[in-house]
């Protein structure tokens, strides 16, 4: 079937609009930090967080971060503090920012769909499409975390790398519509690459929140030690570091099995296509390294004394490996995955 160039143009236009919407949403999130008087999360104390633990954990066990959290019936909300118990954003700027984010992600999904329809194939067959897809996943995770964990405060920080990524994607990485190279013409692309996209989206969210955690934690420790902290004003608008730590942990906890599945699916595809499961191709090697480092993070979390700060650094190391695998391996190393093309 011929490639539908008109539809491809629509896809490009949609993606450009998406980036603009995300950028404006970022501005609104920033305005919310600057102007909003009442913070939804900032006032939550450690004890209140602990009180909400049980229902949240049940939800995680049932289906990861995307599972809905049951409305908490804590004394605080029962005593009549409506904004705190609501899962929807409050305040003009935050509402606007979140609406723009949601509109943006809908257009983002539409851009990916139209691209796929124009090409008559799964729309993640080259680097341009792949970056578009996993940034979309990252924003979907942001929206889910916002609603289910009231993590609206992460909006600005998650959209920042997303906007940068999409900007680079649209300018330098852009690839016109085309057919898949023969090596990729398999139904396994829908399984293996989709799993990777989902995992990368979750890992991006986790890495952003961990970075926030490390910075907030550092600021808090400096203040506790009587030193000055230039960023203390920012963290006042965010929940206590422990909440950030837990949120990023949840994202990784959900992303890790998906990544594992993705690597396994890749091995099966490799056996199908190349006659061996594992050949220490650079992409394979780096996805294994990424897997090991994220496994180290999960283990560190379960170890006393390695929680929090040190575990956070391990997670960031894992994320660096991930990003090197996604981008560096394609740019600088020649391997069997080189068709992905930059």
């Amino acid at each position: 079937m011929p490639i539908n160039a008109a539809l491809a143009d629509i896809s490009n236009g949609l993606l450009l609009t998406t980036v603009i919407l995300y950028a404006v949403a970022m501005l609104c999130y920033a305005c919310d930090f600057a102007f909003a008087r009442h913070r939804v999360m900032a006032g939550i104390t450690e004890a209140e967080v602990a009180r909400k633990q049980v229902p949240e954990l049940v939800a995680v066990g049932a289906g990861g971060p995307a599972a809905p959290v049951k409305e908490d019936l804590t004394p605080a909300s029962a005593a009549g503090e409506p904004p705190r118990s609501s899962r929807w954003p409050s305040g003009f700027w935050l509402r606007l920012a979140f609406s723009l984010t949601c509109t943006g992600v809908v257009l983002h999904v539409a851009a990916i769909l139209t691209r796929g329809l124009a090409e008559h194939r799964v729309p993640w067959g080259n680097m341009y499409e792949f970056i578009g897809a996993f940034t979309c996943m990252a924003v979907l995770v942001l929206v889910a975390a916002s609603v289910f964990y009231r993590a609206y405060y992460t909006g600005l920080f998650v959209l920042l790398p997303v906007v940068f990524g999409l900007g680079i994607d649209l300018t330098w990485v852009y690839t016109p519509v085309g057919s898949l190279v023969p090596a990729l013409q398999s139904y396994w692309i829908a399984i293996h690459v989709t799993a990777m996209i989902v995992a990368i989206g979750l890992f991006i969210f986790g890495a952003v929140v961990t970075t926030l955690y490390l910075l907030a934690d550092r600021s808090q420790r400096r203040l506790a030690a009587g030193q000055s902290s230039w960023s203390a004003g920012i963290w006042e608008h965010l929940p206590v570091p422990a909440v950030l730590d837990r949120l990023s942990y949840r994202a990784v906890l959900f992303g890790f099995p998906v990544w594992t599945f993705g690597v396994m699916a890749g091995a099966i595809w490799a056996d199908h296509a190349w006659g061996r499961y594992w050949g220490w191709d650079p992409k394979e090697t780096w996805s294994f390294i990424t897997w090991v480092v994220y496994a180290m993070f999960l283990h560190a979390r379960a170890t006393a004394g390695w929680r929090g700060r040190r575990a956070g650094w391990i997670q960031l190391a894992g994320f660096v490996c991930l990003m090197f695998n996604v981008i560096g391996v394609n740019l600088w190393i020649t391997g069997l995955h080189s068709y992905a093309g930059v």
């Binding site: 004890a47 633990q53 049980v54 934690d217 730590d245 099995p257 056996d271 006393a304 929680r307 929090g308």
Partner: protein, 174 residues
Amino acid sequence: MKLPDGAGSITYLGYQQWVSLAITYDPGQLPALISGIAALAGLILSFLVRRRRVFVRAAASPDGSTAVTLGGLARSDAAGGFDTEFAELARLLRAEHDGRSMQAVQLGDGVAEGIGDGVAGGFSDGIADEPEDFDDQGRGRIAVPAGSSVTAASATAETAAAATPEALTGREGE
């Protein structure tokens, strides 16, 4: 066809059809698939299952009453939440009884044994990094976190002993 500079000539003689075949027999595919699925299932299961233990000890006090001590130990509480669960358990237990005093103390992470003296023990909060709270043996510092120490107004020895296992299974079975 003559090549330049007197390098000889090339003549087309015809062609032969050929095929290259690579045949593999891999009986390990099915076991590999089953192992892979099992490994993934185990991995997911290990994330879903939370290992935690609760100890309840009833001991006679010199004054004739019975002191019921509650101890909790989370082996993997990386996501946090054991504090809350433990406090809730202590509350349930206390609600069951009248007439005795009860102390609830949560043990630190990595303290597998040594619920020994009841009130000793750190606490596992599953929150930030607090290496300071753990000494070299991995034993929790002697500290009772706010909200973990529950002193019930009263409980009779009989009802305490009888009701405790019930209350425990009720919470642990979830």
